[in-house]
Amino acid sequence: MEILGIPLQAFLGQLMLGLVNGSFYAMLSLGLAVIFGLLGIVNFAHGALYMIGAYVAWMSLEYFGLNYWFALVLAPLVVGALGVVIERTLLKRLYKIDPIYGLLLTFGLALIAEGVFRDQFGVSGQQYPVPELLQGATNLGFMVLPNYRAFVVFASLLVCLATWWVIERTRLGSYLRAGTENPALVQAFGVNVPMMVMLTYAAGAGLAALAGVLAAPVIQVTPLMGSNLIIVVFAVVVIGGMGSILGSILTGLVLGIVEGLTKVFYPEASSVVVFVIMAIVLMIRPAGLFGKEA
């Protein structure tokens, strides 16, 4: 069977790969949006945190023999703790000044992380094996679906929706949303806002690390994996607008799929298609698809 001259299996395979990438875009842009909402900082280090997450998984297997499932818990905790340190020592000095300084500071942090890992591991990639439980593929009749890829999409969707639920449907989330609107007033009501800000950054960092662990078996783990991704995620965030959580999730997934399909039909353009879409969206709807501000 063929679609527009492309074998169906190749078409669906790229679609699935696009969905996997889209899951990572969704998880990262979600964290970026939540951090920006509360801290007013565009976290350039988000890609580096994602990269560190993947390396925590790789190192814990290589040096301590800890398997994938341990890493899935360990990496977000380690990177979340790193996030606490970053927020307490550096970011909290920047809340009252122009947001561009937050971008520049986190850019510096990303360079530091990338340099350290490049010095330790070189630029060539490390392979991380697919966990035993999820090896192999399922034949669905019309396509062969690799189990691990299906798991990645399922797991990240679950995490994204859980994040949405916490922010939109719980008391903690209502504090968070109120803190985004007016931190001084929320503090006056007795909520410990600095603590909340710190934990939000840590949670965003942990989310990035979780995406890194999920990504480790599907891509090469390299020191550069984060910076390559973060620029695309920035474009995703501009397209979606940072106003809505479900909006960021949806935008991330759809753009991943679009990118995957571009690989099938016009491979040369696959690395630029997200940027082209960003330019078009900016011409038509400058605030982004789900953006609130005019």
């Binding site: 510096g108 360079l111 400058p286």
Partner: protein, 318 residues
Amino acid sequence: MQSAALARSARLAWWAGLAVLAAAPFIGLYPIFMMNALCFAIFACAFNLLLGFTGLLSFGHAAYFGAAAYVTGWLVRTAGWSPELGVIAGTVLAGLIGLAVGLIAIRRQGIYFAMITLAMAQMVYFVWLQAPFTGGEDGLQGVPRGTLFGFIPLASDVTLYYVVLAVFVAVFLFIVRVVHSPYGQVLKAIRENEPRAVSLGYDVDRYKLLAFVLSTALAGLAGSMKTLVLGFATLSDAHWSLSGEVVLMALLGGLGTFAGPVLGAFTIIGLQNFLADRVGAWVTVIIGAIFVVCVVAFRRGFVGELLAWQQRRGKQAD
């Protein structure tokens, strides 16, 4: 009294700086290094016109530097153009790309502007990565320096050094002129308070777009000159890490000051030269650490701190 003394010492510093630059080949400063640093000084000054004097953070300035570097390299090497025409073509092309990107990016303000310019620069980067004439990962090698205006051979480092110095001084004076012009005053007004500039009736977007195009064209001029000096153009001329470095040069020297970006460029290029063979991948770590320190504790940069110090002293004297 105070400000007159300040102006006198500033003038003295300018002439001293120019004298050192003019005498550089004869006092043992390595000409290739000096030319490279001057090219990056042009680049940093062009960037500072945008962030320092207009308040727009472009995080993709390497795109214009790299585009001009490639175009000049290709025209001079493959098409056999003279160096001056190659440089002009590179500058114009960088300005045109800047116009296209600027039209899209000025639709958003503040931090979004930075993210959009970064994303657009990454797009341009992928185009160079795949375009047939850029030589992919190897880059364009062996670009000849040729003969300027048909009668000044540039093969000698000393001759080329003075050409680069002349271009640098021209760009520097041009930026000083622009900032002090009525147009520059409007740019400053936009930086300080954009809504007020709008309410005073200024078409803010047009002013910002022109500043963006000027800045990108001058960034291109820097890239073109760099290709002539070093004889090659590679992907690292267009990479996002270079976009970050030019931000650091302007920030370290002092945003919104004239001499700051020049000092910043010389510091960073000198540091990279010094560290390159000694520490390997740690260059990136050190650059990142300087970034962090600058943002946390040194936001005024060298020149800004110096000016603030003189002002404090002036107050005490009164």
